[in-house]
């Protein structure tokens, strides 16, 4: 039927094909993604099953059991706590550092531009490889950072291999990789701010702390929000850095959501629990990304309105 309509309309123009065209154009991209969407629903099903790869015969629906058992499972609470802690610490520190560096580099000069380009390099390093670099530098035998730590009196500082400092070490790597992300976003923001309010404030002799808190920060808020939510969404799902550095160890010190799900799947072959963990993480990210997308749409519209 469609073929017939198109044929009939061909001489007179493209009215029908114009309606079909956008679908045709986006269809291949959609098909590719739908193929990948199926596993998402499979995950939902798995999460309601008792399913261990080592005991395929015992596979059956246990409905909410995977989820209910989380309530009394200290390992789950550890995962939740360490994931939130990791995301919270990294995002706050990166935001403060990124804002500080962006303000240092705000003035356009050859040196500042050069430095801001150099600072892109950690961000473009694969996080997994960045973790390996820091692993080499914190090696207890020859690592330069272990040596530097011993110089300031921290003998036998074990970095990622000690439960008390493992979190600190992976947070440090995360800061190294991702602070430049926040920095370049905020730098772009700072440099695009209108100059009149600042000139007026300078004329009136307004104290600089007042300028910062009452003019700079409010005007920068859209950029800060975008950067924070982007980082928050990535950080709560962090896998590469932690897995490459410690595989979630030592013990279960760093078993954040994705690492714990990976270990559950491949080591204890507990597919059901692994899927349930991922669904909970997905719920958290879905909640966060909805906030993000709503804010973003508003900002986009505002930006377009002004332009």
């Amino acid at each position: 039927m469609t073929a017939a309509t198109i044929q009939r309309n061909r001489p007179s123009g493209f009215r029908i094909s114009k309606r079909v065209l956008p679908y045709l154009l986006s269809l291949p991209a959609l098909l590719v993604c739908i193929g990948i969407l199926i596993p998402f629903f499979t995950s939902v099903v798995y999460s309601f099953q008792r399913y261990r790869l080592s005991q395929p015969w015992a596979r059956q629906f246990n409905w909410g059991d995977n989820y209910i058992s989380f309530f009394t499972d200290p390992k789950f609470w550890n995962t939740l706590e360490i994931s939130l802690l990791y995301a919270g610490i990294t995002v706050v520190l990166e935001l403060l550092l990124g804002l500080g560096i962006a303000m240092l580099l705000q003035k356009r000069s050859t040196l500042n531009n050069f430095i801001s380009i150099m600072l892109l390099m950690p961000l473009m390093t694969a996080p997994a490889l960045a973790a390996l670099m820091w692993k080499l530098m914190t090696n207890p035998g020859f690592g330069v950072l272990s040596y530097l730590a011993s110089l300031i009196g921290l003998q036998d500082f074990r970095w990622a291999s000690s439960p008390s400092t493992a979190l600190l070490t992976v947070v440090l790597v995360d800061i190294w990789v991702y602070t430049p992300f926040i920095m370049i976003l905020l730098l772009a923001g700072l440099r695009s701010l209108p100059t009149q309010p600042f000139e007026a404030a300078a004329l009136d002799g307004v104290p600089r702390s007042f300028v910062f808190f009452r003019i700079t920060l409010p005007m920068l808020t859209p950029y800060i929000l975008t950067a924070t939510l982007f980082r928050l969404l990535d950080s709560i799902q962090q896998f590469d850095i932690i897995y490459a550095m410690t595989q979630g160890g030592p013990g279960d010190t760093l078993t954040v959501f994705q690492v714990e799900a990976y270990l559950n799947f491949f080591q204890s072959t507990n597919v059901g629990r692994s899927a349930a963990l991922m669904i909970i993480l997905w719920a958290i990210t879905y909640f966060l990304s909805n906030i993000f997308i709503k804010n973003w749409l508003r900002l986009r519209e505002r930006a377009r309105g002004q332009a």
Binding site: V32, I36, S43, M121, A126, L136, M137, N139, Y262
Partner: protein, 285 residues
Amino acid sequence: MEHTSLLERILRGIALALVVIFFMFPIVWILMMSFQTNETILRIPPQLVFEPTLANYTALITGKLMTAAGTLDIAFMRNLWNSVFLSVTSVAVALLLGVPAAYAFARHKFRGSEDIAFTLLSFRFAPALLVLLPLTLYFQKLGLANTYIGLIWVYQLICLPLILWIVRGYFEDIPADIEYAYRIAGHSWFATFRKIALPLAGPGIAAAGLLAFIFAWNNFVFALVLASADKQPVTVGALAFITSSGIQYGQISAAIVLSITPTLALALYAQRYLVEGLSLGAVKG
């Protein structure tokens, strides 16, 4: 700004120096390690002055590592090739699929277009393992486990949303009137797309492609879950290399240097586009 005191300028200078040291030191240090023998690496305190050697790089490139205990085979060049192949092909496929779709989303507000666009975008924010873990089971059934095709397909999760959203923004910035004018002159839809829209959005498409390449190259978890040794890119290969070669720190450093050089070079080349690309155009200034 002009009336900064001397003290403040000094403090700013110190702060900037510390920032540069913190962010540059690891790269410089690993670069230095890659030109050292294991002996100098293991020396305490760490040496700043040493006789550089290319032995680590030759060992990686020839794939043969001579040790006192005998020769060890290194498959690192294979990993490097896998990274190049996977990233280039994934980006090519994503451009082929994504650019027309981006055009459709930008030009035609059809029913459900925003919903579909956001669904595609949401892949960018979904936990990777949520999809990957069941996918391993499917891939084994479908015979796609440990194949390039399977990997390139999954890599679309990284490349497609990126390309779709960045390129869509560029298409939206082209005034529709230019296209109408060309259409009225009697040209077909496809000719308009090819002769007008594509060239005008060219820089955006190039930037999106470069960024997608960097993200594909830097990806770790997809190949960790879905590929075994002979298909693994450098990110996974380097980790395996550490466990297999144990104490060959010089070679590991050289491998890391070779693995991060392409993305660093591309990033420096495309740095103008990075802000917009990294935030998916969220803070178009």
